[in-house]
Amino acid sequence: MDLYFITFAVMAVGAGIFTISAREALASALGLLTVFVACAALYLHLHAPLIAIFQISIYAGAILVLVVFVIMLLMSPDDRLEVIQENMSYRIMGVFLVAAMIGLVVKALKDVKEHGAVSLPDGFGSPGQIGEFFFRDYLLHFEVASVLLLVALIAAIYLGKKKL
């Protein structure tokens, strides 16, 4: 494990915890932004530059701006999130579940090294290869995903529009 990974991994987890524990919605959104950027840095490290670009441009760029707009439109500055967070029993249960989950994942991934790492093919994660994946191996998935977007669009329009 190198310093680059540890830096950004800690940053991502720390910002994630900040995101869910922040008292103010806007601070929470900024925490989320940090998570996105840290994840993008990790993707770069994993030789996936295109995914990193997507992460920044789509998540940090587009989705987060939407989130901030929604916060701006829906919440007055005095609104705090404490009311939603006050149920202690859920938090305690959550801590247990998270601990169990982390334990399981750590146990599972500890053996990965013994199994032997598979070397990545040439040009892995490059835009060219992702394009090839998209339009050859996973063409059908790509097409079916468009149906998913269509369904989500219809659902969103129906549910979101007051008078229809």
């Binding site: 399981l104 994942v105 146990k107 599972a108 991934l109 500890k110 053996d111 990965v112 199994h115 598979v118 050859r136 191996d137 996973y138 063409l139 059908l140 998935h141 079916v144 995903a145 149906v147 998913l148 269509l150 369904v151 989500a152 219809i154 659902a155 329009i157 129906y158 549910l159 229809l164």
Partner: protein
């Protein structure tokens, strides 16, 4: 997998997923028809769109039954399959879609919800379930799972004026996304380990050198199971069921409890038996996967406990419900537990039993929800047990049909569910799960109590208040009567469907 670009042919695509293509075409045609009909008033527009939906679903189910049944191949580079197991379940979910669409015509009219989007979402939900069942590729499973789920989330929230509908749908959305996340994480782990998302390739990869004993593979299997248990409403992932089933429009609840459950069961059986069991080695010459029998030591205890808890908690909590719809929600949880017995048995009878069960459950559950919405009048008009008191004299026909479906759900002869329960229980007993089968039969006695209690209320009690049932439209009547005849027919002459079901389950191992 990597040669997909070269083996892709339109003829093959049509052969393997003709049903899906027709469903997409129908869905798009509905959107266009909706625009063309803009000039008309809303209720007649919704009616026309509804009838187009029903017509195209009937045509598609015929295509699936008569064309696709005879296709035996995995198509399109190992993404979709068209084996008989898949085709059988596709026919079940499309049938569920037809019954739901027939009832929806009346439901939307009674509740004054003249929105044609309903049918568009319904047909895309059917598309999602069909594609979900057909996929043999975890990534495609995830995408189609989401298509199905998003369409059903929106349908669950369809009564915009009603708080419970919104609340239930939002709970469903949150918990469903959570479940999907587990599915995705499990898939990522498997992909990281095996380098493939195709089920049979995974079976091949993890059987080499006992790789499946690795905690990572087991964790991946567990996560896939969690994701699917959510949709199957197995305990302990059933928490969303009562609120969502109660809040959703009754017909949507019926669709959710049948089509979505059938799809989740089908996919679970596919994932478990194709990728994580030696099934392929016994029938299609993948002899390398025989060692996967060792995995049974891991998943069988889990399914054992899940089945037991599902049967007990579903039946026990149903007893204390005051709302009939909520009671049916818990009963649907309990039914998932009975079906899980067939998975646990892990033999041909068990799988055929589940197919039979899903078919008959679709008929009786949709039938019950169809009667329920008419007695209701408008949604939440008359759903409590108190409202059902004395209905038998005011509405003898409806009460009779309701009694028939409830008797069927309780598993009494001569109805389809008796035969279905018989198949799954005998499959489990054959594999030596005597204790679980005995406990399961015991829980069905609780079931008898709360189902028969409704019938008692309907015929033996004085009415508490004046319940005004909604109008019974012809399409709903047709759907309910067809379901009722099916339930009785399958109870008396089950051999036909049983033969088809056992031929269907054999298809699971032929291709891939």
């Amino acid at each position: 997998m990597s040669n997909l670009g070269f083996s892709f042919s339109l003829a093959q695509l049509w052969q393997v997923c003709g049903g899906q293509i027709l469903l997409i075409i129908a869905g798009l045609a509905l959107i266009i028809a909706d625009i063309l009909l803009l000039g008309r008033d809303k209720s007649s527009r919704t009616g026309i769109i509804g009838w187009i939906t029903i017509g195209s679903l009937v045509a598609i189910v015929l295509h699936v039954m008569f064309r696709q049944w005879n296709v035996e191949q995995t198509g399109i580079g190992g993404i979709f399959s068209a084996d008989r197991f898949t085709t059988f379940l596709c026919a079940v979910v499309i049938m569920s879609g037809i019954l739901a669409a027939l009832m929806s015509l009346g439901y939307l009219k009674n509740n004054k919800l003249p929105h044609s989007e309903y049918f568009i979402l319904l047909i895309f939900a059917v598309y999602g379930t069909v594609a979900f069942i057909q996929s043999v590729d975890l990534l495609m499973m995830f995408i189609t799972l989401e298509i199905m789920s998003i369409a059903v989330y929106a349908l669950a929230a369809f009564i915009k004026a009603c708080r419970q509908s919104q609340e239930g749908a939002f709970k469903y959305f949150m918990l469903g996304s959570f479940g999907s996340a587990f599915f995705l994480f499990g898939m990522a782990l498997l992909y990281g380990f095996t380098g493939t998302v195709n089920l049979s390739q995974i079976a091949k990869a993890i059987s080499v050198g006992g790789l499946f004993h690795q905690p990572a593979i087991l964790l991946a299997l567990a996560m896939l199971m969690i994701g699917l248990f959510f949709k199957m409403a197995m305990v302990p992932f059933h928490m969303w069921t009562p609120d969502v089933y109660e809040g959703s429009p009754s017909v949507v609840t019926g669709f959710m409890a049948t089509a979505v459950k059938a799809a989740a069961f089908g996919v679970f059986i596919k994932v478990l038996f194709v990728a994580f069991s030696p099934l392929l080695s016994t029938q299609s010459g993948f002899s390398a996967t025989a060692s996967l029998v060792g995995l049974e030591a891991y998943w069988k205890p889990v399914v054992w406990w899940a089945a037991l808890l599902t049967m007990f908690i579903g039946n026990l909590l149903a007893v204390s419900q005051k709302n009939v719809k909520r009671m049916l929600a818990y009963s649907s949880v309990a039914h998932a537990g009975y079906m899980a017995l067939g998975i646990l048995a892990a033999n041909a009878e068990g799988r055929a039993g589940i197919l039979f069960y899903l078919f008959s459950y679709t008929l009786m559950n949709l039938g019950a929800f169809g009667v329920l919405y008419i007695i209701d009048g408008v949604e939440r008009g008359a759903q409590t047990l108190g409202d059902y008191k004395g209905i038998g004299f005011k509405y003898p026909g409806l009460a009779f049909l309701m009694s028939l479906f409830l008797v069927a759900m309780a598993g009494l002869p001569p109805t389809a569910d008796f035969i279905a329960k018989f198949y799954v229980f005998s499959a489990a007993i054959k594999e030596g799960y005597m204790l679980l089968a005995a406990l399961g039969i015991m829980t069905s006695v609780f079931g008898l109590y709360y189902y028969l209690r409704v019938i008692w209320m309907m015929y033996m009690e004085e009415p508490e208040r004046d319940v005004r049932a909604g109008t019974l439209t012809a399409p709903t009547l047709v759907a309910i009567v067809v379901a009722a005849i099916g339930v009785i027919y399958l109870g008396i002459l089950p051999e036909g469907l049983a033969t088809i079901a056992s031929a269907a389950q054999a298809g699971l191992a032929v291709v891939f």
